[in-house]
Symmetry: none
Subunit: 197 residues, 4 copies
């Protein structure tokens, strides 16, 4: 009768996200989530409608936070290079805070996006692409980036390069998301061969 406590829901979502990230959504049984939460499978249904709704909440929550960060960057009116740097940094910060959600997103988004319920994934991808492509084109026109770049290829290159890091990134004391972001950026922007001084 009384509505489920939001705090408990949050805990449970965190647990579910970890298991989904570890094993994949399809390979994860509701029972495994319940085990990890110290309850029985059926009990999860007091808090959530379905396994799919857990996934939904995890992904939607992640995208909400991500776009909060991105929108701030895009609204700041930075130059193309600085925008790229800020977006990449924001992305690594998001990986740091929602690692499991990012990993789930990486693995499942493509197949989920075709379902009506997960239409917002496709929408987010479009916005994402628009933001990055726009910035790259602006930089190309202004000479911030090499003139011979294939913009779409470069977009994919940066996008994949950044997000795939979620599959191995584990937060520890040494590598803060900002440090990782700076190292990635130095490779993406300047490459791995030495520049002639």
């Amino acid at each position: 009768m009384s509505p489920p406590s939001p705090a408990r829901r949050g805990e449970l979502l965190g647990i579910a996200a970890e298991v989904f990230a570890e094993q994949g959504y399809n390979a994860t049984t509701v029972r495994e989530i319940a085990d990890a939460a110290g309850m029985l499978a059926g009990s999860l249904y007091y808090h959530f409608d379905s396994k799919e709704s857990m996934l939904d909440e995890i992904l939607a929550g992640f995208l909400d936070e991500l776009w909060a960060g991105y929108d701030g960057v895009l609204a700041a009116g930075l130059g193309p290079r600085e925008t790229i740097e800020a977006l990449v940094t924001a992305s690594f910060r998001e990986i740091d805070r929602h690692r499991s959600a990012v990993a789930i997103y990486q693995r499942e988004a493509r197949n989920l996006a075709v379902q009506p319920r997960f239409g917002y994934l496709a929408e987010s991808q479009r916005q994402f692409e628009r933001a990055w492509l726009g910035t790259l084109e602006r930089g190309l026109a202004g000479g911030s980036f090499r003139a011979d770049l294939d913009v779409r290829l470069t977009y994919r290159f940066i996008r994949d390069t950044v997000w795939v890091a979620a599959s191995w990134y584990r937060p520890d004391g040494q590598h803060s998301p900002e440090v990782i972001a700076r190292q990635y950026l130095s490779m993406v922007l300047d490459g791995i061969t030495p520049r002639p001084s």
Copy 2:
């Protein structure tokens, strides 16, 4: 008229690989593979022991070919930069020829590698890492690469950069694997910002 058994197996494996790549291994039902092959689910078992053995053959076949290419490169005695270039090019060529297998590998390898049957995946990963890390360290020592690189991070950067491309790369007339490889390499080696000439 009807092709001999090994040819049929090959056909079926190709079909299965495409469906696995499209939907994920777990989310793919044997019935879907059979549908795609124009036969009934049970009929697949005349050719294969199990769904898992199909996956096994797909991945093992891919890794065999991949290592044939890599071993050739590594035995050629090239310099570090040329080795990286050749490895990346070999990888894109492999993506071109075994796109679905690469996509499956990307998505499933981590979870499969812990199973005894798929132990060769873990072994291949170790060899893979050794080859790349060794080359990078050699280049670092010899000045082919920037002295401030974090070798492990760079390894992951290049590795992911290349393989993730399998998730969107579709061969067409314009972008041969060699062309894609060259464009990627120019970004990885020299970055996306213009070099002061």
Copy 3:
């Protein structure tokens, strides 16, 4: 077009009987029979209509031979004790010659007998019971057997005692069916405790 050779059929039936006896009818696959015969599963269907028809032929053939022996004994006009001895001996002879068929019969007859196709099994059981019960009652009336015997119980006792031997009897040089029969008979007739001389 040309009818299958009866000789080959006989061979195949013998092989099938052995596998059925070893593993049970249900647990035996047509493929296992074919393997044992050095052919492919489908090829058996040139010789037989179905797996069930193999079972049918095996059991019918065995019962035919068995009754040939029994009828001879029953028609001979022996006394009750001699009849029992002759029936037991005939049974052991049949076990010796059709061990697998007897083993199959023991294991499957009860469940098969309810099917119309195998109605002859039930019929045979009834005849069997009539022959044994009649002999025992004749012996009881004539004083050949102990007066305090429960005839039905004794019938089951002897029947089970004899036929179950098929589950372990293996023909070898030392124990001919006649020898085994004589030893059994001495136990059944005189018991295992010493008779006061």
Copy 4:
């Protein structure tokens, strides 16, 4: 109202045992067990891991009880003849209480015993043989049994004689297991022909 879990398991095992005994383990489908229990096939898996584990529990439970009885007899220090009598009586008592388990054991033990999971069946058979053979040999040496007995044959004779009764024995008011045991014993010990007084 609803009985606690172990009781329900016991109920279900009893039902499964009856169906296995009636139709044979292989010929019994999980659905048939579920039907007999008034539930759906899948629901059985809430209580048991597999069809095989039901069989396992049934057989192990039966053997545990059987050996409880046998060990009591063997430890009592009776003479050979009294030991045989007590073992036979214990066996019929067990047939009375676990009729289906005994019938399953009779039909399936030979083929199951080779599987690692059912290794305890083979072990039990060895112990069983040791107990009976030892008793028979003791009796032979001490003159309780006829000097001309073939001990192994006699062992099989008695063993089969007793256990095969499970296939037809149905408890009713008139024939308690003790009564049946006494009648069997009188035949086994003294035979069916009259003794010269």
